[in-house]
Amino acid sequence: MLPVSYYLILSALLFTIGAVGVLIKKNPIQTFMCIELMLNAVNLTFIALGRYFGQMNGQMYVIFSLAVAAAEVSVGLGIIVAIFRTRESIVVDDANLMKS
């Protein structure tokens, strides 16, 4: 196996790219994609460390993280559709009120 720090550095790079995307993207769908990228980077860390220590716990955390990510995406895209219905625009700067 390669040194575990290789995987940690790759995961850090992916997480940082996702964080930059969350900060600079104006389209909320692309912001969601960047959040998915950050979740994937964390999953890579869990699996690499689980393999390093020879334990199942890392992979179990990844399974729950997958389930939470799926729930988050379904609710988040529902919110985006609702915002588009009321405002006809999904630029994040326009959606500055919780009240429609």
């Binding site: 790219i17 389209n27 020879g54 992979q59 990844v62 990510a69 995406v73 895209l77 529902g78």
Partner: protein, 177 residues
Amino acid sequence: MFAQILFWVLAAICIISSLVMVGSSNPVRSALALVLTMLSLAVMYITLSAQFIAAVQVVVYAGAVMVLFLFVIMLLNLGAPALPEQPRSMQTVLAIALAGVFLVGLVAAGVFQNLPAAPISAKHLHGLGTVQQIGYSLYSPHQPWLFPFEATSILLLIAVVGAIVLARKQPAETEGS
């Protein structure tokens, strides 16, 4: 040697496609680049002896989640980038600078952290990540994962109901909201 070449190729694909995802202003192109990132991560999971997670990654992320993304993009008719290209604002510069500081911190934590030497024998790694081992860990009463599993099922139920409630058309005659 083969594992090393595979790692570098997969890492290059991951980073380039995630940069394409962040840099592109077309949401469909971003989604396809994210699919490429997830597929290369799935191959990397196989090399880390997490076969079941790799299959779940392909099915759930590259399949279901990305189909949901593409469906919403096409439902809202966002295929063409309608947003005007804005000049590079202060926010972008500040975001990239802060992310650079963040990356330095993360890499320092990954490189210089003294992980204890883990004695991984072949006996330990045998069966790591197979469906049998996952099922044993998930459902055995001696392992702590059964209650989180049940809680996750309730979470998914709440997510399904919440998504339907949020995305359905509001009836016109409801007063107040």
